[in-house]
């Protein structure tokens, strides 16, 4: 019953939207190079599913490595920064500023700094993009310790290390996951968009552009659907991980 209530509206909305789209395209006789019909996209999706799968694996691997790398570095950096107050004071505004930069534009430079024949540049782009939300949120979490907890641990004569492990880390988990949730779909987008600037042609991004260059929009959109699914998988996996890691929080979307 409750489940139905949560699932029904979006499903109905989606079905109606797709039906409307199909109707507009067929009734308005809109050429596929302007807006492909959902049915045509679906057809291509089925036809290209092998290609989509392989491309999604390639892009997904890049996104995953970027995500994991960026998260690990972000969390470690946040832990180091939280140990030294001045460092945290400096790094928060600095990271916030860097986060406002169009990082994706670094792709061509990274391609030159590393090599365009490896996947490192796009993984780096994904990693850097992941780094900021994770770092900023984790640091915030690490710094926000309930003063009562602090006093309690003091009365238990707990050492700094014990305090970090038993209080700071678990206390910052919700923040880490807040960052991760944002980062997860960003990582996929970054990995896909970075392909735009050259490099190996094995991912969704290059498939999309090459299909689009041939005006094969239904095919391009089939790959786009693949990219959306990939992003969704990342996002939902993060949500699942969040639930597993924090059984004391039952809400799915904060």
């Amino acid at each position: 019953m409750k489940w139905m209530k949560a699932v029904l509206p979006p499903v109905v909305f989606g079905v109606v939207a797709i039906a409307l789209w199909e109707l507009i395209v067929t009734a308005g006789r809109i050429a596929p190079f302007i807006l492909p019909a959902p049915s045509a996209i679906w057809e291509q999706f089925l036809e290209q599913r092998q290609n989509i799968w392989e491309a999604a694996l390639a892009s997904g691997a890049n996104a995953l490595i970027g995500l994991v790398g960026g998260t690990v570095v972000g969390v470690l950096a946040a832990m180091v920064s939280s140990r030294f107050r001045p460092l945290a004071d400096v790094s928060i505004p600095f990271a916030a500023v860097l986060n406002a930069l169009p990082i994706i534009a670094l792709a061509p430079i990274l391609n030159n700094m590393f090599e365009s024949t490896s996947s490192i540049p796009r993984r780096l782009v994904a990693g850097i993009i992941v780094f900021f939300p994770v770092f900023i949120n984790t640091l915030r979490g690490l710094r926000e310790v309930d003063p009562i907890h602090q006093e309690l641990m003091h009365t238990y004569a707990a050492s700094g290390w014990t305090f970090a492990v038993k209080v700071r880390l678990p206390g910052s988990l919700p923040h880490v996951f807040t960052g991760l949730r944002q980062a997860s779909s960003l990582a996929v987008i970054a990995a896909v968009v970075a392909e735009y600037f050259g490099g190996l042609q094995n991912g969704l991004g290059s498939r999309i552009t090459s299909a689009a260059a041939f005006t094969a929009y239904p095919r391009a959109w089939a790959f786009v659907v693949g990219a959306c699914l990939l992003g969704l998988v990342f996002y939902l996996t993060t949500l699942l991980l969040e639930r597993l890691a924090m059984p004391w929080r039952t809400r799915l979307i904060a």
Binding site: E151, T155, A157, K166, M246, W248
Partner: protein, 259 residues
């Protein structure tokens, strides 16, 4: 040997700065073994400060604090007291049982042993069924009970409580008061209890210490003797008399000794 000895203690915050605050001035307090002492006074009079001095969470500017014959610092390191605050301050990522286990864990007690001990404490506060729950699944009153169980887990000779029932509604509060009394009676723990409520202070204490602000000092120490500490006590004339005398002490009226 008294449970707590505070003598000649003054506490000045931000000493020498423009925002200097004299939180406590020349305070003497002695809490006997097994005695239940309440601190009451207007907001900002230094009740929490005094409690935190005893807990060695802050150091006095002058004067000495002794807990069970040792310095406050030594007592803290030995976990010679348990403490509870207005906010239960449970760790939301630990189950109720694990929360109570925490001080034992930090003492290096073995897993099985501390589990037994913690379960026992939970039974004491009547929450053994909720051992596996997370704090967020408990009501405010239940959370506060867990906090008390946690404070008692190391079986400290001294219990320090800073308005532990302040956030609860009156009925829950009265129930917990009775429970706390029962626990203190069975364990023989000495208690320093900060409260804003006159009736609470009177009902719980052997002695109510009244403080005044600016600078914080002790203005009265009113012994309470109720025949019993049950529902009937709350309706006894002795109770109402004590309430009145604490109220008067608080209002600054000339103190008449409570009957």
């Amino acid at each position: 040997m008294s449970a707590v000895e505070v003598s000649g203690v003054t506490k000045v915050f931000n000493q020498g700065r423009t925002d200097e605050v004299v939180a406590l001035s020349d305070v003497d307090l002695s809490v006997g073994q097994g005695e239940f002492v309440s601190l009451i006074g207007p907001s900002g009079c230094g009740k929490s400060t005094l409690l935190r001095l005893i807990a060695d969470l802050i150091a006095p500017s002058t004067g000495t604090v002794t807990v069970a014959g040792k310095t406050a610092g030594a007592a803290r390191k030995e976990q010679a007291y348990g403490i509870a605050f207005q906010q239960a301050g449970l760790f939301e990522w630990r189950t109720v049982l694990k929360n109570v286990e925490l001080p034992l864990e930090l003492r290096g007690m073995s897993r099985a042993e501390r589990k037994d001990k913690a379960s026992e404490m939970l039974a004491l506060v009547g929450l053994e069924e909720f051992a596996g729950h997370y704090p967020a699944q408990l009501s405010g009153g239940m959370q506060q009970r867990v906090a008390i169980a946690r404070a008692l887990a190391v079986q400290p000779p001294l219990l320090l409580m800073d308005e532990p029932f302040g956030a609860l509604d009156e009925m829950t509060r009265e129930r917990l008061q009775s429970e706390l009394l029962a626990i203190c009676a069975t364990t023989g723990t000495s208690t320093v209890f900060v409260t804003h409520s006159i009736s609470e202070a009177v009902f719980l204490s052997n002695r109510v210490v009244v403080m005044s602000a600016r600078p914080g000092r002790i203005t009265a120490s009113i012994p309470i003797s109720l025949e019993s500490r049950d529902e009937a006590a709350r309706q006894s004339p002795a109770y109402f008399e004590s309430v009145t005398s604490v109220r008067q002490a608080l209002r600054g009226a000339p103190l008449k000794s409570a009957s």
